[in-house]
């Protein structure tokens, strides 16, 4: 094939590149799957298309209908691109403290942005979107945290691509947000080889994203619970902003200009490498670096950049 009929056909089949030069262990290879090769620039293009097409198929979404979705960035951007092509107006509910480039990209694609309180983090955006969707029954809420097309996009896409390109994988490492990547890819890889270990990388749940009034306001994504996430994951580990930024900078040494969550995944892969001493780790690098230039993550003083990252949602 020499050309594609639509930009939507460019979603998926992202390249994987070896970054073992950064591995702290000589007998552990590390590969990253570069998800900014998707057309709107992140891994979330996969679930954006999958969720819209699933809703079209089952009739939950009809031509011209308005969508509303909580997102701290990439899902919103992916959905805005897909909706622009398919002719759906879309409103994105996002915490006020996300990077300026994310807002600008949403504007580029023509999405309307609704601000949610920064101190309530992603959970606050979810709550506000659910409230607004309740008040406007004619709006469609795809709800990435509960939509089974989310993990399915990874079970049918990302997972098979990794298995095709690197069947020697022993460990899979990805960030934990909605849990869609971990559930979909993790389940696929374990079905092929039950010995594959699945590591979830979390950002610290700091004061800035802790707007809970009681523990019972906690939130476990339904797709995590429904896919037996507690049994599927083999390790769940926190990577803080400083380590994430240090590894985002190290990735530059191997020619990879990635976003800060990719640095966190790389830090997690390095932690995994030091623990297992031997193996082949595949990590998902969710987005590229351009959206984070305003954070000066690569060029600013490490302490200053880390402090700013604490105030910003970068996963």
């Amino acid at each position: 094939m020499t050309y594609y009929a639509s930009v939507l056909d460019l979603i998926g089949n992202t390249p994987m590149v070896e970054v073992s030069a950064l591995s702290p262990e000589p007998d552990v290879r590390i590969l990253l799957k570069l998800e900014w090769y998707n057309p709107a620039g992140s891994v979330k293009d996969r679930i954006a298309l999958a969720m819209v097409e699933a809703a079209e198929k089952d009739g939950a979404l009809v031509p011209g209908q308005t969508l509303i979705e909580p997102s701290s960035g990439n899902t919103g951007i992916g959905l805005a691109m897909v909706c622009r092509l398919k002719g759906y107006p879309i409103k994105i509910v996002m915490p006020i403290n996300v990077s300026v480039e994310r807002r600008q990209l949403l504007e580029v694609w023509g999405a309307e942005i609704i601000d949610s309180p920064g101190d309530e983090g992603s959970n606050g955006a979810v709550r506000l979107a659910q409230q607004l969707a309740g008040e406007h029954p004619d709006w469609a809420l795809l709800h990435q945290y509960a939509n089974h097309a989310n993990p399915r996009a990874h079970y049918e896409g990302t997972g098979p691509e990794i298995w095709r390109d690197c069947p020697e994988v022993t460990h899979f490492v990805a960030g934990l947000g909605t849990s869609g990547t971990l559930m979909g890819v993790g389940r696929f890889l374990k079905e092929r080889n039950p010995a594959v270990q699945v590591w979830a990388i979390e950002p610290p749940s700091g004061e800035t994203v802790d707007g809970l009034r009681s523990l019972d306001d906690g939130y476990i994504p339904p797709i995590f619970a429904d896919n037996g996430g507690a049994e599927l994951l083999d390790r769940k580990t926190i990577i803080g902003p400083r380590e994430s930024i240090e590894w985002t900078r190290r990735l530059i040494d191997v020619g990879i200009f990635a976003g800060i969550s990719s640095g966190a995944v790389m830090a997690g892969a390095a932690r995994c490498a030091r623990r297992v001493k031997q193996g082949v780790i595949v990590g998902v690098a969710p987005d590229g670096g351009a959206k984070y230039l305003s954070s000066r993550a690569w060029t600013g003083d490490l302490d200053d950049v880390t402090e700013r990252a604490r105030q910003t949602i970068y996963f």
Binding site: G177, L215, G218
Partner: protein
């Protein structure tokens, strides 16, 4: 072992407003039991009512690792370790 236990904002009211307390035990479970003995208001908040499992909406970390994926309440602790209690929330969003 004496370890440092970090409490989330929503639980500090049950520990005299402190964000960090010390507790003793050889395992995460013993540390949490010791914590509840010292601060009874935390009972039913951190552990489920029968005391044998973690509350559904609580994640407990030994240093950086979620103990649900280690040996749960049987996870061994060492001096210098930090046990952090955090509300279960979606990790991020994307």
């Amino acid at each position: 072992m004496t370890v440092e236990v970090r409490l989330p904002t929503v639980l500090r009211q049950h520990a005299g407003g402190q964000s960090v307390v010390r507790a003793e035990g050889a395992t995460v479970g013993e540390v949490l039991e010791g914590l509840v003995r010292a601060y009874p208001g935390l009972g039913g908040q951190v552990l489920a009512q029968d005391g044998t499992a973690l509350h559904r909406f609580v994640n407990v970390y030994l240093n950086d690792d979620d103990v649900r994926y280690l040996e749960r309440l049987d996870t061994k602790v060492s001096d210098e370790d930090v046990v952090s209690i955090l509300p279960a929330v979606a990790g991020g969003a994307g």
